[in-house]
Subunit: 395 residues, 2 copies
Amino acid sequence: MDYSFAKRVQQLKPSVIREILKLSSDPNVIPFSAGNPAPEAFPSEQVAEITNDIFGNNPIGALQYSVTEGYTPLRNLLKDYMKNKHNSFKETDELIITSGAQQVAELTTKALCNEGDTVICESPSFVGVLNAIRSFGVNLCGIPLDQDGMNLEKLERALKEEKNVKFIYIIPNFQNPSGITTSWEKRKAIYELAKKYGVMILEDNPYGELRVSGEPIPTIKSIDEDEIVIYAGSFSKVLSPGLRVGWCVAPKTVCSKIIVCKQVSDVHTTILSQLIADKFMRDYDFDSHIAKIREIYKIKMGIMLDALKKDMPSSVTWNIPEGGLFIWCDLPKHADMLGYCKETVQRGVAVVPGNAFLTDENLPCTSIRLNFSTPTNEQIVKGVEILGKTAKELF
Amino acid sequence: MDYSFAKRVQQLKPSVIREILKLSSDPNVIPFSAGNPAPEAFPSEQVAEITNDIFGNNPIGALQYSVTEGYTPLRNLLKDYMKNKHNSFKETDELIITSGAQQVAELTTKALCNEGDTVICESPSFVGVLNAIRSFGVNLCGIPLDQDGMNLEKLERALKEEKNVKFIYIIPNFQNPSGITTSWEKRKAIYELAKKYGVMILEDNPYGELRVSGEPIPTIKSIDEDEIVIYAGSFSKVLSPGLRVGWCVAPKTVCSKIIVCKQVSDVHTTILSQLIADKFMRDYDFDSHIAKIREIYKIKMGIMLDALKKDMPSSVTWNIPEGGLFIWCDLPKHADMLGYCKETVQRGVAVVPGNAFLTDENLPCTSIRLNFSTPTNEQIVKGVEILGKTAKELF
């Protein structure tokens, strides 16, 4: 049969990262390409205890159908957490549980955007969400990042000139892939611009708890007096990505549309996963767990930064993020970046070509993304040595 | 802010059933409205053992990111199961794990249908999938059901006359809500019509294993020589709906588009759920578990059918399904069906108004759907007594 696919998905390709992940499941390849939490960051024993307890006390509740909005006690816990810790939940908001923060982006696009509408994003930005937006036939308009977040002049020009802009997608903390943190001044300025031009903001904050230096900055959601911000939170980096539990805080009217879209998609998020997340936050010391994984990532990031300094030629530069899981490296301007990535993977180190994170993959790009959470400390040292040697040979 | 939602979701409403479910969480209301498996049908102890074992042997594997296609050993197990038990997996097919069978319908629509395209479905049909199709701005064309499945003349007329028909949605076994099973002759005829008019078929088979009488009928997928059938399977009725594990068998080209759509939606299905399903099928006697739950539902269905016979006035009629979870009742032609449903819920019995399952809720309808898996046996007897008494008073 000559299959006729929907227009919206005809150009859609699998995420480069997910495909590289598959290749780099080869245990001989050092995985700087993934975004997986470090194995030692999982509270495996506690989760084992928790599930034991769940099946001892409430097995049917863990296996039966549940409501689309999510497990009420977990929702209440997260409402308190968002209110008390982040000042990011108001009476006019609703909070629902989603199957990861990725689902928040997909449902938000489905609820807000017609085909041909535009979403403004940081450039570069997280390819998973860019693809979710693309999958509804929505155009992306990328705004280059300064060291403190989106370039405001270019953002305002885009808001003025682009047609049917529905929302601005932003990862304010330790952005994936750039590592950049949007400053407090820029957060306020971006909010004011969104308000001025009548568009919403999707604030994606999966890495917020993974700060290893500097001072926490309030969320954009915390200044959302005008009910224009949708906030996506996630347990993926602080508990487990495999459980697929995230959450969405959004103005009630918007949230009700997102709920209907979720209902027709996966009905509800795995209830066992929700019960585990609920019990973990409730019965264990969440703050000291976060402190522990922060320490793990601080060490790993430090090892990678030291190794880069030691092994990379001076023509290669990189940022020093205040948290998160990634370091963004700029190869020399004339470099054949894709050729470099192919060469390093043959030498046993997988990295992600930077163009994967652009709104148009064909734009010139000489950056690569390095992840330090997935490899072991030994692999970080060895892998950067190979990256440095290859760079010295090629550039 | 004056929110501007996407056209596709402007008319979308929460599923009547999910909303009634919320109301009927009142423990004083007898739930004939749900579709939940009976508590005694859950292999709770085995799942407790399995999770214990998973966290003992492979805790990181249960918590880490996984691939979009699903856990490979489970996919292989299901490929064998579909091949050997249902003759429904060929070399040209691919099988992936989804977050329930509902997700198969949603991803299939997203991959195949542009806004304004048409999907042909049985009338009545499962509202969850109808809403998934509606959520992409796709038109529904309902084909009335004869006692052995869709009316073929009306199906062919629709295939001729409707514009841009992309697929036929069908639940061949113990259809939700009608309880009707499509005969072998009609399955073949529907397949031939789909082939003739160049449209695909989405065969949704969540209840197939729940046969309590009569002989099993081969799937439509089993005669899919032309690679036009997408098959949706589910663990929801045979293991647990809360785990959210289903699967999709589809021609490779189609499956690859579905995978990309899943990747941008929830990245992958909860890996812990997949490990549980895998281990349950592998290490326990799946067939004898199925035999056990069949017996449970045979008894419950029998109790409801006996009670209906005893308590309902002769003006109310119903079908006798060969399996599944639902009985479809026709009230007298002149009956105020919605008034009846409102009255029974006030008297403590929740049922689903039949119009919820129509392609146009405003069409005349005097049917209601009764579920016998969720209520206890005592509740079935008491609930039907109330339904009968109310019917005698009102009709």
